[in-house]
Symmetry: C2
Subunit: 446 residues, 2 copies
């Protein structure tokens, strides 16, 4: 069923809500958006409700639960990122504007377009008759602020949310027109370190040479994190890394996303990293130690000849199966303490951690997803990918509901999610609707 003028009009209504979860002054818009979704989901024949959480409400919708068919939970979110800087937008971010079949609006790709495509698919299927599965829509309002209420909500509603598999469309396709199944995500462990040398900032002329500059100590300490070949130099760091399977390596080499594409997106002079691995292997299957922020001393104009008292760094370690965040944390702390000179003190503040995720794209759910993707994308072979980022909710679904997640990205990599001029091609509503219908059919057979 091709998208109708009516469904496009509805999509634009959905996009007009300034449902920015990060800013409490948009609370009324959040409420209105959730209520609109609930009405929409009711109107297509589902039992829909707005369900309170510790934070923003969750919209839940389901068909009649019948035994003998799998239960599929489709997750999405109705909240969107803030819109600053507003002056870079071609149109008001909440006045969706269509140019050449592409809609420009905040949330168009992330995540309203992708979840609305699923809703359109279910609407079309219900017009034909019954759905082939027990369906649960779970559409939350706090994804852009880290989903703080979702895990407690899942815990509290474990029984009624029991399902066989989760479906999420909240990520890009590997290339335009390429059906994409993501079956793995990296985990993460964050820490912040502070080095303290002198008890106040010192004059670098009067004291330079006699005391260790905490910035020098920090640079040297952070340098110890890597070997010259960019492998991580922390003892034991790779002990639990599950080797990449040969089929993955082979499949990734054929993807339409390689050095040239990564160079174009990042704008770096050249790629760099672990020499023994391809760029995609390094992104998806190898752990990293990254400095996300580093600072100390004078940052203003001109110069101030100071030896600062303090030097700071924020680090994150991206993890792969089967590295455990708490084990990595212990190894990192041990490494940092072992390499710290006695002439500075160190404080370590532990940040958030989350395990990596890896499903088998060749299990029955994965094969069903691949089959559906192939039909929805006119016979093209699906790309089987992992992602380098971390999606904590996927780990939450696994941990609390005990189920795997099928990650089926429907937006383009240049969609400007989180940036000005976020876009979504209207044709992807059709693609996503078709994918949803094929997917539910295939999952029912799995």
């Amino acid at each position: 069923m091709p998208t109708t003028p009516h469904s496009i009009d509805e999509f634009l209504q959905f996009l007009r809500f300034a449902s920015i979860s990060a800013d409490s002054k948009f609370a009324p818009q959040m409420t209105d958006c959730a209520a609109w979704l609930q009405r929409k989901l009711s109107s297509i024949g589902l039992h829909a409700e707005v369900s309170p959480t510790q934070g923003q409400p969750v919209v839940l919708a389901r068909n009649e639960t019948k035994p003998g068919r799998p239960t599929v939970l489709i997750y999405g979110h109705y909240d969107v990122q803030p819109v600053d800087p507003l002056n870079l937008w071609q149109n008001d971010p909440f006045d969706p504007t269509i140019r050449d079949g592409v809609v420009n609006a905040r949330g168009s790709s992330d995540n309203k377009g992708q979840i609305f495509a699923h809703i359109l698919g279910v609407e079309a299927a219900l017009k034909q008759g019954e759905l082939p599965v027990n369906l649960i829509f779970l559409i939350e309002g706090e994804e852009e602020i880290g989903s703080p209420s979702l895990a407690p909500f899942l815990e509290a509603h474990k029984q009624e949310l029991a399902c066989d598999v989760v479906v999420i469309s909240d990520s890009p396709m590997i290339a335009p027109g390429t059906p994409t199944l993501c079956y793995g995500l990296r985990g993460i462990q964050a820490i912040e370190i502070t080095l303290r040398g002198p008890d106040k900032d010192l004059h670098s002329g009067m004291f330079g040479g006699a005391v260790l500059n905490p910035l020098t100590a920090l640079a040297r300490l952070l340098t110890t994190l890597h070997n010259p070949d960019y492998t991580v130099a922390i003892e034991g760091f790779y002990d639990q890394v599950r080797p990449l399977q040969p089929w993955e390596s082979d499949a990734w080499k054929k993807l339409p996303y390689q050095e040239k594409e990564i160079l174009a997106i990042t704008g770096v002079p050249e790629l760099d990293g672990e020499w023994a691995h391809t760029p995609l292997e390094r992104l998806w299957a190898r752990p990293t130690a990254e400095i996300n922020g580093m600072w100390g001393g004078y940052q203003g104009e001109g110069s101030k000849t100071v030896i600062p008292s303090l030097a700071h760094a924020k680090l994150t370690f991206r993890l792969v199966p089967d590295q455990q965040p708490e084990e990595i944390l212990a190894l990192v702390e041990k490494h940092l303490r072992a390499h710290l000179p006695d002439s500075v003190k160190m404080e370590i503040e532990v940040g958030h951690g989350g395990a990596a995720y890896l499903a088998d794209p060749h299990d029955k759910w994965g094969l069903a997803a691949q089959a559906a993707l192939k039909v929805a994308f006119a016979g093209r072979e699906p790309a089987l990918i992992r992602e380098g980022g971390s999606i904590p909710i996927v780990a939450d679904f696994k941990r609390i509901l005990g189920v795997d997640t099928l990650l089926l990205g429907l937006c383009l990599s240049n969609c400007n999610a989180h940036s000005p001029n976020e876009t979504f091609p209207l044709s992807h509503l059709d693609v996503g609707s078709a994918l949803n219908q094929e997917l539910l059919r295939e999952l029912a057979k799995a």
Copy 2:
């Protein structure tokens, strides 16, 4: 001549001017302070004038120039540092308050007390008769903002400021009650480097591992500046370093300023630096490579998983004789470029540079100063020191007027110059006045 109640009263008048050069709203106070100084210097029998510069006026005063005696230029400054944070002061910084013989006021040590002691010495000598030298007082109003107008003023008045030696009291004594002659200063070369990796900040999950993080590149690059023993690892860096003379090493070992004192002042867990040199050697006679500021990425609360586009560092190299700033700059640039990976770009912004300064404390001026110090400090042997900082005006006097400078510090190391509750012992007016009279006598004989 012991300090009289009248001269103390005059000193407090001098301290009441809020002559803050950094803030233009104090311009009237600057003008009033310069005029007050001109009246004071006239009243003691000198020919005094307020002389305009490109910036704040200079106060010049001189006796009658007579052939056959040396010309001595005593330099000082009437401008003071800002007073923030005001709430930490025990009294209004411009309402000088005497407690136990110590005056608490902004500028009391830096530099009003020290220059006023010289004025009192000249006043006392003139009451006895004629000065033994041709004297020039040059008291500027921009020292606390880097003396931007002084060098042009010296150039423009080269003839009338021609002299045989310069005297400056604008630095601490090495220990309370220890007469101190400083005969050397380190030079400096400042640069700022910026590393550029991706053309925008990247998500460290999506791209971490495939691109070099500019913060990692910066840490690694800055680490290459030092060897494990904290010597500077830049090729050729030490080629022009004049070896410390054995008498200096020996003399410094006996100074009442060693590891214990430096530990107490700096509050570091332990001293650190070039293993092959004592702390004082490292401070005064060895060059350094210091990071004065370093920054990039996310510095706010919590974490933001970013690979920043840019990473920055502000560096200064402290130089010793006979290192030349422009030669060191070339070596530093060569080193940084040689150690830069191809996967980031670097921009280098050159900052200010100034050569090191070294006089012979055993030449005739040095010996005269030592003799005067000994008398003024009741027979105690003067400490012969260098300083680790850089005083560009000393290089200006050498370069433009062709003369050496005697640096005779009269304040205490805990005087809180540039900090709240700046203090100066009233007794140091007597000491300084006596020193001035002895010094002019000795210089006349030299």
